[in-house]
């Protein structure tokens, strides 16, 4: 399976290409997560909703 790095899978992508597409998704999720966390902290500073 991993013997041919240039094999084009049914998605039209090679393994390396698919991994790169996936990395954009992962990075995006991380960035969005961090932003959401920061936004929540800021909201909590002005209008605390816990305690």
């Amino acid at each position: 399976m991993a013997d041919d790095p240039d094999k084009v899978w049914p998605t039209g992508l090679t393994l390396k290409e698919a991994e790169e597409v996936h990395s954009y998704l992962i990075d995006g999720t991380r960035v969005f997560g961090a932003i959401a966390l920061l936004a929540h902290v800021l909201v909590a500073v002005s209008t605390p909703w816990l305690g």
């Binding site: 998605t11 936004a39 002005s46 209008t47």
Partner: protein
Amino acid sequence: MAILRDTALRKIQGIAPRFLPFADVASEAVPLSRLLRLSLFQVTVGMALVLLVGTLNRVMIVELSVPASLVSLMIALPLVFAPFRALIGYKSDTHKSALGWRRVPYIWKGTMLQFGGFAIMPFALLVLSGFEQAADAPAWIGQGAAALAFLLVGAGVHMVQTVGLALATDLVEVEDQPKVVGLMYVMLLLGMIGSALVFGWLLQDYSPGKLVRVVQGAAVITIALNLLALWKQEPRDRDRANRVETHPEFRDAWRLFVQGRTAVGLLIVIALGTMGFGMADVLLEPYGGQVLDLSVAATTRLTAVLAAGGLVGFAIASRVLMDGRDPLDVAWWGALMGLPAFALIIAAGPMSSGIMFVIGTGLAGLGAGLFGHGTLTATMRSAPRAQVGLALGAWGAVQATAAGIAVALGGILRDLILGLPGSGGFRPEAPYTPVFALEFALLLTAVAAIFAVRRKQARLSQTANYVSSQDRPGPNAVPSDPMPPDRRPTGGEPHDHRRLTAL
């Protein structure tokens, strides 16, 4: 089971490419509709600029009563990143990707930065202004968060615009570049005008909740429009991905970019002209109001006159450049047009002539349009294909820095003159005339600088005949003598890496 799997695989094969964000192939001619879609990224850039410089500037000072000095500091923060545009452009030129992409990853990252900045910005501003319990929190939380938000948006805007313009340059033939430049400028202007109107209308009766909705709405629109703009634009390129390329370091690439040709001269021209046209941006309205006694509605219409002049300028520039005129000639005419424009604006004060002022403003817009279009087109053409990102990054770095300095300098000069002892006895136009006169002088210098660059070009093109056999980019430094199209194909053509690896 096997049949089922086969049909499933075939189904996937049929569907998949439609849901993947690559262009299928580098087609010979990119249709206008696709370029229009790509130019949507300029709309988001315009929206971000208006939000930062216009809307939030006002909201922070008037509604949130943040000290004006802190506000101008925050708004100036994104300028810090402007010089890095050259580096971003270089990075995208030499990006290593399994997909063979160079531009999309950077536009996507820039979009995320812009989105992130806008997403936290309203909360950061509310904390900064001490909204509700935030008054008890230490001040650095609000200041730090607001600074971070502005920096994120600024970095995102620089990234998206630089790499987006590089992608647009990649996609079209040299002859079609003027059309693309015009389109990009028009979309930037439309984005700015449209979002200014919409933000003004939405924030008519301000409330904190509305601020959150408007700014975060802008964040979502940014991501939506940029995704739409990017989708299936840059072709996937397995050859480029598999090629082992040695790229020069940034410093070497920069040296290659500036050496021997007219790149530095062009950058100086851009700085001079941008400052010359940009200084008046924030002064025209108060000048009209305080010196010529125009009403608020009339001075707002003034901005429309300026923008309309710009649009006419872009249209004329696109037209004559498509006919094969030299972009530097067009820039020269633009700078020249600025001279009578500012002369009229200066004279309008003492003669208290509103008509002269309006005509001068329109001419200034027209000149700025011609100048901006001409210099950007010249930049696109001055670089070999493998250095397009670097060239456009340098253009953007100089342009954004010069524009920022110009606006700040114009305001500072006016305030300095107003603060002079005995300024109460001055005529009302006294604080403005020196600024307009300085613009006049800057544009005069720009005209002379363009003349000098043209002279140098002419000299280089004479020697280019024997240099071109050594693979020097002689002809494309002289756009009146464009490269034969067969040497500059569209889209995912191979790098001109002989030039770069020849270091």
